[in-house]
Each structure stands twice: as C-alpha cells, then as structure tokens.
C-alpha cells in the first residue's frame, strides 16, 4: 500500500466481475446502437429510394422496437452492475475500517476523535461510489464502443472511417486532454467550493462572538465579498477547463458535418472515392450518419464521471492515511494465556511518554498490588494515573519497564485473554442503545435472568419509578434517559456481572451527589470481596476506604500506606486532606 492511488486501484480486485459485466452490457448497448442505425437507414432507404410503403417494412419496424427494448434493458442492467461493484467495494472498505479501528483500540480512537471517524466510515466510504459504479467501467467503454463503430465505418467506407479517426485524433490522446481539463475542473471547483463553505461555516460558528463585539452586521458584506472572490477564482478556472470539453464537442459536430457533406456530395457525384468502388446507397449514407454521434458519446459520458474520480481520490487520500496510521499500531499475538483464580500485579520501573508529546506521564514507577488487595491511587490530574490504568488495560503499548501479572510479563499475555480477567469501570462508561439488561450484559449474552438481577441489585440499580419496565427499560441513545449516577451504577453492574478477578475503577464517585456516592461505595465494598481492586480517585473521602493508598505525582508514587499510616506520616496525603490541592502538582 504505497499511495492512496494504489490503494484505490487495489480495491478493484473486489469488483472485477460486476465491472466486467457492466462493460460487456455497455458494449452490447453499442452493438444495439449500430443495429438500430442500420435498421433506421434500411427503412428510410426503402421508403425514399425504393418507394415502398410501410406495410412490407413492418418486420423492420418491429425489429427496431426490439432493439430499442434490448438497449434499454442493457442500459438498466449496466447501471445495476455498476452499483453492485460499488456495493462490494464499500462493504469491504467499511469492514476493513471497523476491524482496524477495533484492533487499534480505544486510545487510537480517542486521538482521532469519534465524529470525524464516524464521518470517514460513512461519508468518505460513500464517496468511493461513483468511481467504481460509473467511472471505472466507463473508462473501458469509452474505448470499446468508438473502436467498434470506427471498425464498422471502415468496413463500409474508408473515407468516413478516416473522418472518425481524424476527428477523434487518436481517442486516447483526446481522453488525456479531456481528462486533464475535466479533472482539474472538478478538483479545483470542489476545492474552491469547500473553501467558500468553510468560511461561511466559520462565520456561522462565530456568530455569538461577532454579536458580542457588535460586528455581526458588518459580516454580511464580508460574506458577499468572499463569495465574489471565490466566484471569480472559480470562473477563471472553469472558463479554461470547459475548453477541453468544447474541443470534444467541436469534433463531434465537425464529424457529423463532414460526414454529411461528404456523403451528400458523393450522392451528387461531385466526389467519388472512399467506398471501395461501391455505389453509395442512401442506406449506407444514413447508416454512417446515424453512427457518427455515437462515436463521441461514450467519451462525453466519461467526462461527466470525472468528478466521481476526484471525489474518490479525495476519499482515498483520507481513508488510506487513516488505515496506514492504524496499521502502525503494534500487533502481537502471543499464545493464549490460561489462568484462573486471583490476580496480583507488579509494575517495575515503568516509564511512559504522553502520546505525541515529549513529556513523561510515568517516570520509573514502581508499584505492586497483591491478590485480593484494594489499592486507591490518588493524585492531581496530570500525575499519570490514567496512563497507568491504560497500560494495565493494554490500551497503550508499554514503552519502558515491566508489568508483571502473577509474575508473568503483561506483554506475553494475549490481550483478549487478559482482558477477560478484568472488569473496568471507566469515568465515563458508554451506554449503548438498548435496554438496561443489554447494557449490563454487554459482553456476556449468556447471563441468566437471575444473574442479571443479582448484578443489578449488587450495584444498587433498583427498579424505581423511572425504570418502569425494570431491567427491560430502554436507556436511549447514548444512555440519555439515565442520570450520571445511574450510568455509574450500570457500569458497576457490568462489573458484577462479569465477575473478573481484577477490577479497575477510574474516579467511581466523581461528580456525584452524596446519596449516589454512598450507594456506589456500598457496592464497591461488596464488589471487592475476593477480587483485586485498583481505583483511581481525586476524592480523599473515597480513597480512605481502601486497604492501601498510593499518592502519585509527576509519574511516580511518592507515598503509600493505609489512610491511618499516611495521616500519621503527615506528608503529602495529610497535606491534601487539610490544605487543598496546592501541595501536589
């Protein structure tokens, strides 16, 4: 995968057959066009020259109707095949994106922000459509049909064949000419238009600010001015770019005119060449004339699909960059780890940089947590607590030092197996559309109703007025029907339901009122039974319940011990409790 263009080309393998089918149907349509021209010419000849009435020609009339019908069906089938090619490609790319994102993990997703990512997966993938549905087959059709017609023309008259060949001065050359123009046209046009839109969007976003400075009315003029400026720029490009399609148009018209005049003068006996010595009949003449526009039509169609190509190239740039980025994530697949029972964790001299920054989040950190212990880690934001948790979850690759799980390095564990041993309650748990039960179950669809009920009860997620349908109550998009405290309790219920030996909690009580905090703490006391629990918190009220408290600052543990021990030591922790946050930073 060296360039976006290569990537786009490589996608062709996923739609070879429908693209081929589409080309065949379109070329079949070209054959029909030739047949149609021949039949029309035959009828006109018979009527005008032979003076036949329409009755003996009825079969020809019916034949034309049949050809028209076949041609229409082929055109329809071609469209469907084109759509199918694009469907196959888009399905593949979408699957690929989703799988890569999952493999890259939550930290990579966070770094890229969810809205633009969702946009890539939906809109940018849609932008590939026109290229595979229309442009790609048309590129071949723009060769096959003209060649077919020119050969047919040559078989009747080399002079007319020559007119086609000269006016379409080597079709590929002309295609390049149009291609460049049309491509420049659509890219430049697209670019300028999106710049103009971006400026307008910027103004709308800043409307409150403009209003505050009473500048919003003056902005009207600037919008008009910038639109004008962009219009002039765009038109300068377009005036030139349209010339290339005018060239094609010109050749089409000239070809028709030259053919007509050549044939007309031959009839009138002013000219006598180019027909391999045969007498020129009206049938032949009209046949050739009717074919002329069809030589150029596929080329013109190709021109109209150039914007689809530009769209796809733009999308390919973005998607290829994204996929390449995600591929950089290290991938390791160690043998599956089988262990049961409790979990002890030890960190030795762990150092870790903040993603994309030259600042240490963890600085030679040493910490051990024994099986069944409840450890609280306190410290200011920026002390490195979250980085520590992300390392344990395997969301970040370990840069330096060692993390041991029951004496084995965490790097040697297979990540799925390791995560099966963890229950995690993040600061902001995600709620998914569905019922409360669906959200509690999350990774464990086989959970029995009884187990579900117990988990909910343990987490103090009691049915009340709001949950009128009990655990079947819908939580709404993004859990919008739940309060902050309820979301936290659903997350705890998830942890109860998972029944994993290691529990990781990130700020379980932040932003909650007293009542909710009490409920959560009561649940935590139940949850810790028989499990190892590591909890990050700002709140000292919350931390004091733990067996041991570790105080973190600047990526290191600077103090640890039980609440009582730390108070007696009268160090940083004691200072925190009495004097506010100034002490650590």
């Amino acid at each position: 995968m060296s360039s976006p263009l290569d990537w786009l080309h490589a996608l062709r393998t996923h739609c070879r057959r429908p693209v081929m089918l589409s080309i065949i149907m379109a070329t079949g349509g070209g054959v029909c066009a030739i047949a149609q021209a021949a039949l029309f010419a035959h009828i006109l000849h018979s009527m005008v020259i032979d003076g036949l009435s329409r009755e003996p020609l009825l079969s020809s009339f019916v034949a034309i109707a049949a050809v028209l019908l076949i041609r229409a069906l082929l055109a329809w089938g071609r469209e469907i095949c084109g759509q199918h090619s694009s469907t196959l490609v888009r399905r593949f790319v979408r699957r690929n994106l989703i799988e890569q994102l999952t493999a890259a993990g939550p930290m990579a997703i966070q770094a890229k922000q969810t809205a633009p990512l969702a946009n890539s997966i939906i809109e940018r993938v849609e932008a590939l459509h026109g290229y595979f549905a229309h442009y790609l087959p048309q590129k071949t059709v723009a060769m096959t049909i003209p060649v077919l017609i020119i050969i047919t023309a040559f078989s009747v008259s080399w002079a007319v064949g020559l007119i086609f060949l000269i006016t379409a001065p080597m079709i590929p050359a002309m295609m390049i000419l149009i291609g460049r123009g049309a491509e420049k046209l659509s890219q430049k046009n697209f670019q300028l238009l999106s710049q103009m839109s971006a400026h307008f969007l910027d103004t709308l976003r800043g409307l409150a600010t403009l209003k505050l400075f009473k500048r919003s009315q003056e902005e009207t003029e600037r919008i008009a001015l910038s639109s004008e400026k962009y219009r002039k720029g765009t038109m300068a490009v377009l005036r030139v770019a349209f010339l290339s399609s005018a060239v094609l148009e010109f050749f089409t018209s000239v070809a028709i005119a030259m053919t007509a005049v050549f044939l007309g003068l031959t009839y009138l006996n002013y000219l006598d060449f180019g027909l391999y010595g045969n007498q020129l009949t009206l049938r032949t003449g009209l046949f050739l004339l009717l074919l002329t526009p069809d030589v150029y039509l596929p080329l013109r169609d190709l021109g109209t699909h150039f914007h689809a190509r530009a769209d796809a190239l733009g999308a390919a740039d973005e998607l290829h960059a994204l996929l390449t980025d995600l591929e950089d994530q290290p991938e390791h697949a160690p043998p599956p780890l089988h262990f049961t029972g409790s979990v002890a964790v030890e960190l030795r001299q762990v150092s870790q940089l903040y993603a994309g920054r030259n600042r240490l989040a963890l600085n030679g950190l040493d910490l051990s947590v024994s099986a069944g212990e409840w450890l609280a880690i306190v410290g200011a934001s920026g002390a490195g607590k979250t980085t520590l948790l992300n390392l344990l979850l395997g969301f970040l690759p370990l840069q330096q030092g060692e993390i041991l799980v029951n004496g084995r390095p965490i790097k040697s564990l297979d990540s799925d197996g390791w995560r099966r041993r963890i229950a995690w309650v993040p600061q902001q748990s995600q709620m998914f559309v569905g019922s409360l039960a669906d959200n509690i179950r999350l990774g464990n669809p086989d959970l029995s109703p009884q187990q579900l009920q117990v988990a909910a009860e343990q987490a103090n997620l009691q049915p009340d007025d709001q949950f009128n349908q009990g655990l079947a109550t819908e939580v709404g998009e993004q859990g919008c029907k739940l309060s902050g405290g309820q979301v936290r309790r659903v997350a705890l219920a998830r942890a109860f339901a998972k029944d994993a030996p290691l529990l990781l909690l990130d700020e379980p009580t932040a932003g909650l009122d007293l009542e909710n905090e009490r409920m959560i703490m009561a649940s935590l006391e139940r949850l810790r039974q028989g499990r190892t629990m590591i909890m990050l918190t700002h709140r000292l009220d919350t931390a004091r319940h733990a067996d041991r408290i570790a105080v973190m600052a600047n990526g290191m543990i600077i103090e640890q011990g039980s609440h009582q021990q730390l108070l007696e030591r009268n160090g940083v922790y004691a200072g925190l409790l009495t004097g506010g946050e100034q002490v650590i930073s």
Partner: protein
C-alpha cells in the same frame, strides 16, 4: 413547491445571467437537432436527386451544407457559452443565498442557533445552501429548455402533420413528465429509508467508537462490529434498490425517444407517399425527433435532486423564520450613573424546553468594580445567567439592570461597549491573528494591538512567530495551543475595553501551570472592572469578592469563598469533588 419561491426570487438580481444561460442552453439543443435533422434530409434529398445526372447538378447543395456546418459551429459555441454562463449564474446565486440566509439568521442569533442546535445544524445549513445552489442549473434551466424544445418541435411537426405532433407530445410527456414522476414516487420511500438507516448507523457507530474501551474490555466488540456491518449492509441494499429505480429511468427515457422516432416514421410514411411532403422529409422527422429527446435526458435526475432541494429549502426556511427574541431600541439610553449590576427575581426558561425553569428567581448584586463567581454543577444555570447579562436572551420574569437602568433600554452598541465576555467557547476565526483581534476594535492601531497583547501576555509569543500578527489562526484556532487561544480571546476583550466582564470558565481544559498563570493575568486585567466569573478553580474562587452557589437554577448561598467553605456543607463537598 411553495418553499422554492423565496429562493427563485433570489435569482432576480441575476436574471440577465439566467436569461442568457437559458438562451444558450436552448440554442445548443436546437443546434443539435438541426445538425442531425438537416444532415438526414440533405443526405436523402441528394440521394434522390443524385439518381439522375441532370437533376444532380441543378441541386443547390450550398445552402444545406452551409447550414450543416453552421449548426456544427453553433452547437460547439453555444454549449461552451452555456456551461460558462450557467456556472456563473450558479455561483452568483450561491453568493446571494449565503447573504440572504445570514441576514435572516443574524438578528435572531445566537438564541435560536446555539442551544439544542449543535454544530451539526450549522454543518447542515452550509450543506443545504450548497444543495440549493443547483436549483437553477439542475432544475429550472433544463426544465425550461426541454419545454421550449418540445414546443418548437411539436409546432414544426404540427405544420407538417398534426398527427406527428401528437405522437411526439405523447412520448415526450411519457419520458419527460411521467417517468420523472414515477421515479420520484418510487424513490421517495426508499430515499427516506436510506436517510433513516444512515442516521441509525451513524449514531450506533459513534456510540461504539466512544465506548470502544468498554466493548474491548467486556469482549463485546465482535458482536457490536457485526451489528454495525449488518446495518451497513442494509444501507447498501437500500441504495442498490434506489439505483435500480434511477437506472430504470435513464433506460426508459432513451426507450421512449427511440419509440417516438419509430412511430413518427411509421405515421409519416403514408403521408409522404401521398405527396403530403417529399420523401426526404421522412429522414428529417426521424432524426429530428430522435435528437429532440436529448433535451429530456437530464430531467429524471433533476427530479430526483428536486426532493433534496425541497427538503433543504424547507429546513432553511424553518431556521430562518424563527422570530428574533431580543430586540434592541434604536436610540441609546442615557448613560447610567454607575455600573452596579442587579439581577432581581430573574427567572428564565428556554423556549424549547417547556416549563423547565433554567433560572429560578435569582437575585444577584454586583457592586462597581467588584467580582462575583458563579459556582455550581453543570446544568445549574451558570452560563445561562451570564448570557442573560449579554442579552442573548431576555428573562421571562424579573429584571436585570446596570446602574438602575433596565438592560432592555440600552441600545445594542451601548450594551456591547459595557459588557464583554471571555469564554473558553469564544470563537477563533480561521483568519490571521490580527483579523481576530480587529473583530473587537476594527479601528485599533498598531500601538493599541501591541498594548492588548502585552497585557494578555501574548506579545512574546507573537513576536516569536515568523509572520507575527499575520499568522493564520487555523480552523477554530487549531494553530494555537490552548493557553495561547485563551490569551488571544483575552487580548480581544482588552481591546474592547468594556467595564464589565463575563468570564465563562476561561481556564477550563488548561493544564495546572498554564491555568494558574492565566488566572493571574485575568485578575491583573480585571482591576478597575466588574466581573462575573464562572469557575470552580481554587485560585479564582479565593480571589473574587463574592461567590454565588447555584443548584438547579436557584441561588443556594452567597458569600465569600472562605465563608461558604466554612458554613456550607454542600459547597464544601462540591468544591472538594472538583478539586483538581
């Protein structure tokens, strides 16, 4: 179709462009028809006269062959002119659309635009406007051109024989009117389903991406990924159905064109043989009718787009119609004797949120040159309260006054020169730093700019940039760090030099050190001004004169920070939980 009229009216200033665009478009079509029909006739006529040598040399071939060449040149020229002029018209219409919309939305902003309507809505508006610009070039122009061609061709055919005109009109109606209607009718339901499916996929995808951590740890990602792919597959299937319909329409139009020529020929044959017109006219009829259907080719697609255009027009009209909630008097009130800010029994509800009181009977008094902090959980009404002082909204009950004059008596100019806001949400425009500063004071000179930058402690940063003040700020200030962006906003406020400042979480999202230094800068600059400070940082709270603790839109307690910490358990608890 009513929703399109206001937009068609916007074409009025550009009517000359639109007119010429139409004329050239129609000329192109006529030249195409003329070229083929005349060529066909010319061939047939010369073939007939060429049968005998004597007539052949009497036949005037100069006029028709000149006509054929003339049509060839005309077609090329007219097509080029049409493309240039129609794009010119489109871009001019786009410009008018933007200005029109902005003028509609500006008086009611930010009230109707910013609450409940997210950035998504703004994006939507911009896209809608871009869609509407094709109203002329994709809809009006091809429709008018096709109708003109139809009228001219049927007129000509009528003159030859009325029955030919009837055949032509019949197929023209089938292809140009019935097909688009049928396609539109078939496509509407699927179109709506596609939209719904896409929205569903998007919202579920966003949930999954946000919650990827949960999904991975709880081992649910596999199932969720498969669900998303199933949803995507359903979307693709719907699109496939849609393609079947629209592909069918293109096929139908060319089928009807061919049939029209065929039937016309069939009906014309006996007429020619009866001497109604000469035989070569048969070729003219068949070729002419065939070519005339070229004008219909763009119509089915146009009417598919029409649905989108109408929906876009409806949305824009709806947004632009919202009444302007806040009206300023034209003439300024007498200068207030002092700048005491007084909120008296102020209550407020957002228009969309029904009876849910956001601010509930709040009383606040901020003496001159004094500072007050608003503290409370999110959703407690702090920002709303501050916005009431800028008159982004007006309270439903109670009054807000500055120096004993009701806020509503001040002219906009007057109020804006008294109150300014420093907020983390202040917008940084994608323009140069200078332009971003000049928004506050368009006529500020170099010295004033320099002074503001000094005070905001941004001077060194700007001096260190290769382009200085001409540096581009990037989209949403993306070229600046968080701290620099806040300082730029502060410098902007300093340039405005208003005596009352609203500070809406100005340090939110900054790291500890930057936050402390920026708070210091703010308080240095606040000297001699009044300030309403939304914050929960300790440094700021310790330095303001009063703190007002809000919960659920009510003022729970007021006093100094120390006082509240000592007396109020809830406050202490709240501050404790926010300790960072």
């Amino acid at each position: 179709m009513k929703e399109l009229f206001p937009f068609i009216k916007l074409l009025h200033p550009h009517r000359l462009w639109a007119f010429w665009s139409l004329v050239t478009g129609i000329l192109t079509l006529f030249a195409s028809i003329g070229l083929l029909a005349l060529s066909g006739w010319f061939l047939s006529a010369s073939a007939v006269v060429g049968l005998s040598l004597t007539t052949a040399h009497l036949f005037n071939f100069h006029t028709p062959s000149a006509g054929v060449r003339g049509f060839a040149v005309l077609r090329t020229g007219a097509r080029y002119a049409e493309r240039v002029i129609s794009h010119e018209t489109t871009l001019r219409l786009l410009s008018s659309l933007r200005v029109w919309f902005y003028q509609k939305i500006e008086p009611q902003a930010p009230a109707s635009l910013y609450r409940h309507h997210s950035g998504d809505l703004l994006n939507r508006i911009v896209t809608d406007i871009d869609i509407l610009d094709s109203l002329f070039v994709r809809i009006l122009s091809p429709t008018i051109a096709a109708l003109t061609v139809a009228a001219a061709v049927s007129g000509l055919l009528w003159w030859l024989a009325p029955s030919l005109a009837l055949i032509f009109c019949f197929f023209f109606l089938l292809a140009g009117i019935m097909t688009p209607i049928l396609i539109g009718w078939l496509g509407r339901r699927i179109g709506a389903e596609i939209q719904k499916q896409q929205a569903l996929l998007r919202s579920n995808l966003v949930e999954d991406l946000q919650g990827m951590g949960d999904l991975v740890v709880y081992g649910a990602y596999h199932r969720h990924n498969n669900q998303r792919l199933t949803e995507s597959d359903r979307l693709l299937r719907l699109q496939q159905k849609m393609a079947m319909i629209s592909g069918g329409s293109t096929a139908l139009v060319s089928l009807f064109g061919g049939l029209a020529a065929l039937f016309a020929l069939y009906v014309a044959a006996p007429l020619a043989q009866n001497g109604h017109f000469s035989e070569p006219i048969l070729a003219l009829i068949a070729f002419g009718v065939l070519a005339a259907f070229e004008s219909i080719q763009p119509l089915p697609l146009a009417y598919q787009i029409l649905g989108k255009i109408r929906a876009a027009a409806e949305r824009l009209l709806e947004v632009s119609k919202a009444p302007s909630t806040v009206v300023f008097p034209a003439r300024p009130a007498p200068e207030p004797p002092d700048l005491v800010i007084d909120f008296s029994q102020v209550s407020f509800t957002y228009p969309e949120s029904g009876s849910n009181l956001v601010i509930d009977s709040v009383d606040l008094l901020i003496p001159m040159q004094s500072t007050m902090a608003l503290v409370g959980p999110s959703g407690s009404g702090k920002t709303t309260l501050a916005h009431l002082l800028t008159r982004f909204w007006d309270p439903d009950h109670g009054t807000i006054s500055i120096g004993c004059s009701d806020l509503r008596l001040f002219s906009e100019e007057q109020l804006r020169s008294m109150v300014t806001m420093v907020s983390q949400k202040a917008h940084i425009f994608n323009a140069t730093l200078r332009d971003n500063l000049l928004i506050a004071a368009p006529h500020a000179d170099e010295t004033q700019l320099r002074e503001a930058l000094e005070k905001a402690q941004l001077a060194d940063f700007v001096a260190g940039l290769p382009d200085g003040l001409e540096t581009w700020a990037g989209e949403n200030g993306s070229q600046l760090s968080g701290g620099e962006a806040r300082r730029l906003v502060l410098a902007r406020a300093l340039l405005k030099n208003a005596p009352i400042w609203i500070l809406d979480e100005p340090t939110e999202g900054l790291d500890n050190q930057t936050r402390r230094r920026f708070t210091e800068t703010i308080f240095t600059n606040l000297a001699g001004r009044s300030g309403l400070f939304i914050t929960h940082t300790q440094e700021a709270l310790a330095r303001v004169d009063q703190v007002c603790f809000l919960e659920n839109g009510r003022s729970i307690a007021c006093g100094s920070h120390e006082q509240l910490l000592a007396d109020n358990l809830r406050y202490r608890h709240f501050i404790g939980s926010r300790q960072a």
